[in-house]
Amino acid sequence: METDGTLLGPSTFEECCALFAEAWENTNAGDGSVWSWLTPSRRNGEEHLAAGFLVLERFPIFSSQTDGANRDESLSWEREQEGLLEEYPPLSSRTLQEDSAVDALAASAHDPQRSLKFLDLHIVYSPSYRVPVLYLRCYRSDGKELSWDDFDGILPSKQEKKSQTLETFMSQEEHPHLRRPWFAIHPCQTAELLCLMHQQAEGNFTNNAQELLSTSCPQSSYISSHKTAVGNRRSTLLRYMLGWFSVVGAAVGVKLPLEVFRQI
């Protein structure tokens, strides 16, 4: 069986992703953004990876803070350059001064689109932990990626809870398929977390969550014990994915609507 006695095998991961993407799209969870399954050609030594990964691109997020222009040297340099270049040569009568055009919407200073950033989210299978891992990057509309420090101010987990620092759950890792550094949510506690969620759902939840987290979840208890019927399997896998994403997604400000859980 694909689960080969552990939490999640590579092919079960693919199945999970398909179910998750479908539930997401059915409920318009991403306000129009949809997941797609990407299958890059595998190189030698990548046989242990899943055949592909799930991708959500250009998910718009708005940050309350503008750009962190005070801290970011590179950014203030850019603004300075732009300021220098605004002295453009005057236009002849044939090309209109844009600001005088009556039928073009002028960009206003408080245009929300200016504090707009985009998130790329990748759900990638981790062969070591046998769980899904969320990789992400965030960038501005000119393609510039946000640095760690900029990220810090944008994510809700940072804005809301001062005690929870970015670094407790996120780090920079090499993307297993793209071989470039990406931000990632640590997979290390994922298995325990899901184990905990599952037990809670089953009503076995003990009050002593700490104890559960510290003792390792018995192998395969989550999925293989549920491979009874086909329908049951579908809902088990989907619940697994939604449960997982409800935690990691929220950490980066992507929340699941309630309706999506009705898809289980």
């Binding site: 059915n26 949809v34 718009p60 044939r94 090309t95 073009a104 509309s141 990626e145 780090s171």
Partner: protein, 721 residues
């Protein structure tokens, strides 16, 4: 006129205002552009064709931008390359003008490229080509300058919109299902989707017609290409124009509608047309999100615009460039990030520059240590601490590598030797090649290798001979020696911590004096055959307070006693230790594992010390301080003595010796009075330092005491001493 150009809710006959398209450029596009610039375009400034992608608006919060990705430039293949995720996007064709210098960018004739694009659009409208292929209406231009040294890019997009003889107006504007009713709206959406689904072209047409049957409602609603306009007019019913609308706003259509409406007015002579602004939700056209606009169009005569509107250009380089027909005025330059007319600039160094990538990765690795284990770890402080490494041999290499591991960014290597054939196997910064032709200077080779390992380090190498007590200096040599002394003093001043990693004892004397004088942290590291000493020197002697009281080991007041230096345990001055040795004794005879151990300990000691609240004035921790060390990194001992033969390690501490030949107030005071005299006499007069510090007097006292004692007990064996 002004009264009718109200910008708020376009009521009856209000001017229709369009939301400009917004560009968004993926970093992969810039990487591709940089590659092409280096390998394909080189110095050519010929325009090349671009493929931009856009979609209907999919989110009520943001409009869909025009996007460039890595595939936007890859137009060698015949089929348009795979576009970014999600359903197939629409394609807009663009022209890229990449110039070679920032000056060319600044003086770039952007009017010319705008004029060229608008002429093409206008010709396509008049000729009917745009009817057959509405994507031609969405041409755009962008001019760029790629600063590949800085990995920064300057660019300015324009989405040319031809300005009609009079503004377009909207008689009515609202959501599609409100305008048509839910059933009809759903049918319009359905027809549009199946038409698009049936379209086999690689690039779907971004505009189409929807025919609503008239009195005879039994016919089905159908969608068809723009070329069917005339045919559909013959039928009983209503023809609606539809287009892919990237705008998200509830009462404005997006930019692509401008040229499309001009086409309707100019080609079809329409004075009023209903338009579906098609937008998506959850991957499907959505009747509530999509808009219906009842547009009122101006009359566009066949002879418009008059040629007189178009002043002949002053500088006609190429007669063929003069347009065959007059072209309307155009607008469409994009505003910059500050909302002003001007180009944009993006610095992609952090994403594209390998050096910056390495720096981020190194920093992140250290930050992980802070986050996971040591919240008090001050990596910024370590990065700012400047380290001077005196000696670039086995110890120097080991110390430098460990400093790099900790994120130190300023490392200066000093040595006076050259890399020899025996070095590379023990000295981790050298390779066989460095030994050839007499060998490269060690300090320079080591600094270069540090930068090769991590380009973010500021490493320098300095070939310098350090004068040593007991090594005679002839009067002719004096000038050169004093220049070396001056340079060494400069180096010590420029740095925060000085590592003494030489292979002789006496070469550590002058640096020890300098550290005491300039109050720098001194870390000493010395190897025997199978044992090592790693120690920190006591803090320096402040220039402002009275040295004598503070300088000696006895605790003067509440503070801990000043700790000793490498020479404090000695009762003799350093002398030339190489003079009477055979060649094999002069080579470093030490077990190869020792230098890495001792070098690493030396760096760890410095890092722990730097985190101690008292810094180099920290009292010596002993093994018994283990329970609650003051530095978050652990114990800050004075000396670590270890043996690899016995596999043990001892923490030892000793106060500064008031007659020390290197760090005592007498020596430092003499340096401050006349440094040249101190150095020259120390080099040339074997007894000088002992006289200066009072050691001679002490010896005499001890001798006389011994004699007195010997007189009392004549049977004792004097050789014991």
């Amino acid at each position: 006129m002004a009264s009718t150009t109200s910008t708020t809710a376009p009521g009856a006959e209000g001017v229709l205002q369009f939301q400009p398209l917004q560009s968004t450029v993926d970093s992969t596009f810039w990487m591709e552009l940089a590659n092409n610039k280096l390998e394909k375009y080189r110095l050519s400034e010929e325009p090349c064709t671009l493929q931009g992608y856009y979609t209907p608006a999919r989110s009520s919060a943001v409009s869909a931008p025009l996007q460039l990705t890595s595939t936007s430039l890859a137009l060698d293949g015949d089929a348009p390359s795979a576009a970014p995720g999600g359903p197939q996007p629409y394609i807009a064709w663009g022209s890229l003008y990449n110039v070679n210098t920032l000056d060319r960018f600044k003086s770039f004739d952007r009017e010319r490229i705008m004029a060229k694009a608008s002429e093409e659009i206008w010709c396509d409208i008049r000729s009917g080509a745009a009817c057959a292929n509405p994507a031609l209406l969405n041409r755009f231009v962008v001019y760029t300058f790629a600063d590949l040294k800085r990995y920064s890019f300057y660019y300015w997009f324009a989405f040319p919109a031809l300005v009609p003889p009079a503004p377009m107006r909207a008689a009515q504007i609202g959501s599609l299902d409100a305008a048509l009713g839910a059933d009809l709206a759903a049918a319009v959406v359905q027809a549009s989707e199946s038409w698009r689904g049936a379209c086999t072209d690689a690039t779907p047409a971004p505009a189409w017609l929807v025919w609503l049957p008239g009195t005879n409602r039994s016919s089905e609603i159908t969608a068809s290409p723009l070329t069917d306009w005339a045919a559909l007019q013959e039928r009983d019913g209503e023809v609606i124009l539809a287009f892919c609308d990237p705008c998200n706003l509830p009462s404005n259509p997006g930019w692509p509608l401008r040229n499309l409406l001009l086409l309707a007015a100019a080609q079809w002579g329409s004075r009023a047309v209903r338009v579906v602004c098609a937008r998506e939700k959850a991957g499907r056209l959505d009747p509530t999100f999509s808009l219906m606009v009842d547009a009122v169009l101006p009359e566009v005569p066949a002879a418009w615009p008059a040629a007189a509107d178009h002043p002949p250009s002053q500088e006609v380089e190429d007669p063929a460039a003069v347009p065959a027909m007059a072209v309307p005025k155009t607008l469409g330059w994009e505003v910059n990030a500050r909302g002003r007319m001007g180009p944009r600039c993006v610095d992609l160094g952090p994403t594209m520059d390998p050096t910056q990538l390495a720096t981020q990765a190194v920093d992140l690795n250290l930050k992980l240590m802070r986050w996971r284990v040591l919240p008090e770890l001050n990596t910024e402080m370590l990065a700012a601490t400047k380290c001077l490494l005196l000696g670039s041999g086995t110890l120097g290499c080991a110390v430098a590598r460990t400093l790099q591991g900790w994120g130190f960014r300023h490392i200066t290597m000093v040595d006076n030797g050259k890399v020899s054939y025996s070095n590379p196997v023990r000295q981790s910064l050298f390779e066989f090649e460095d030994c050839k032709n007499g060998g490269r200077p060690k300090a320079e080779a080591a600094a270069e290798r540090l930068k090769a390992i991590f380009p973010g380090v500021k490493a320098a190498g300095e070939q310098l001979h350090i004068p040593m007590p007991g090594h005679n200096v002839s009067p002719q040599e004096e000038g050169a020696v004093m220049r070396d002394v001056a340079r060494l003093e400069e180096l010590v001043l420029e740095h925060d911590a000085v590592f003494m990693l030489m292979d002789t004892r006496e070469s550590r004397w002058l640096p020890t004096v300098l550290c005491a004088h300039h109050e720098k942290i001194g870390i000493n590291c010395a190897l025997g055959f199978d044992g090592y000493v790693v120690m920190r020197h006591g803090h320096g002697l402040s220039k402002s307070t009275d040295d004598v009281a503070e300088g000696v080991g006895e605790a003067s007041c509440s503070s801990a006693p000043r700790l000793g230096c490498y020479f404090c345990n000695d009762v003799v001055a350093p002398i030339d230790s190489t003079r009477d040795r055979t060649l094999d004794q002069q080579c470093t005879v030490t077990r190869p594992g020792l230098a890495p151990i001792a070098g690493a300990l030396a760096v760890e000691l410095l890092v722990t010390l730097l985190h101690h609240p008292q810094g180099d004035k920290a009292a010596a921790d002993t093994a018994s301080s283990e329970a609650s060390p003051e530095s978050p990194l652990g114990l800050v001992p004075h000396q670590i003595r270890g043996s690899i033969a016995h596999l043990n390690q001892l923490l030892i501490h000793g106060p500064a010796f008031k007659q020390c030949t290197a760090c005592s107030p007498q020596v430092v005071q003499e340096w401050r009075t006349d440094s040249q005299r101190l150095v020259m006499r120390a080099c040339n007069e074997p007894k000088y330092l002992e006289d200066l510090t009072g050691l001679t007097a002490m010896h005499t006292e001890v001798d006389s005491a011994m004699e007195a004692w010997g007189d009392e007990d004549e049977n004792s064996d004097e050789d014991d001493f």
